[in-house]
């Protein structure tokens, strides 16, 4: 079950980033922090993001309690690849070759940290 929790956490992390970006695209900046918060709290994308991040946090807590923090945390590195793919697919962001290389290096670094336990 440990790794199922972690897989759930990673998918919810990516979903949370996509939803936060959709909330940010609607956010009105410039009328003061209060007006900004009101517009944010009126956004279904914001609440959707809060929900999947909360659920992802629960899944993360469950994996942390069974995996060492020094092992569980680097495994979350897969979230960089998944989130980058989600931002290209769902948000239509232009992801150039260097950005993919950078993300791959970051995930590789995480994997090396993971296997050195």
């Amino acid at each position: 079950m440990t790794y199922a929790y972690l897989a759930t956490a990673i998918l919810f992390v990516a979903a949370g980033q996509v939803l936060q970006k959709m909330a940010a695209r609607q956010l009105l900046i410039g009328n003061g922090p209060f007006a900004g918060l009101v517009s944010l709290f009126g956004s279904p994308f914001f609440w959707g993001a809060a929900f999947v991040m909360g659920a992802g946090l629960v899944a993360w807590l469950l994996s942390l309690s069974t995996l060492d923090v020094g092992k569980a945390y680097p495994l979350l590195g897969l979230s960089f690849v998944v989130t980058t793919a989600a931002s290209a697919f769902f948000l239509k962001e232009r992801v150039g070759v260097f950005r993919w290389i950078g993300v791959a290096l970051i995930s590789a670094g995480a994997a090396i940290m993971m296997t050195s336990q």
């Binding site: 946090l57 807590l61 942390l64 923090v69 020094g70 989130t83 150039g96 950078g102 970051i106 090396i112």
Partner: protein
């Protein structure tokens, strides 16, 4: 779409990274204290000592502030540039888990190499386009 300045957005990302790292470490401390079955959330919560509950609440608060800062930063930066920045928290958590007595995890050459790769990866992210053209809104301020 309007957004904050690039400098403000970069600062907000830094705030998010530090707060997220601190929250992760707090959660780690809390979960190490409990003997309850991990699949039983209620059991975990009931077994917490007062101090642990405060750590947990502080971690959730840091996450909430981090989320607000993050969304404002995302008015300026694409997710595919901003999200990989969160890997800086790996370095922070690694250093903290290694050197803070409460975690007592060991350092190693491999882990240090991993941290180095993460750092190189972050640098490579910015090679895609000139730094002045990284934000989504810079072309129509």
């Amino acid at each position: 779409m309007s957004g904050v300045s690039g400098k403000t957005a970069a600062m907000l990302i830094a705030v998010s990274v530090v707060f997220t790292s601190a929250a992760q470490l707090l959660f780690s401390v809390v979960m190490k204290q409990t003997d309850a079955d991990a699949s039983n959330i209620a059991g975990v919560l009931v077994s917490l000592q007062a101090a642990d509950a405060i750590y947990l609440a502080l971690g959730v608060f840091l996450y909430a502030v981090s989320m607000l800062a993050w969304i404002v930063a995302l008015t300026r930066f694409p997710v595919s540039l901003a999200y990989p920045m969160l890997s800086i928290s790996y370095v922070i958590v690694y250093v903290a888990a290694t050197y803070l007595p409460v975690f007592d995890e060991s350092a190693s050459l491999e882990k240090t190499l991993g941290v180095g790769l993460v750092a190189v990866g972050i640098s490579v992210l910015f090679l895609d386009r000139p730094l002045s053209d990284q934000s989504e809104t810079s072309s129509n301020p």
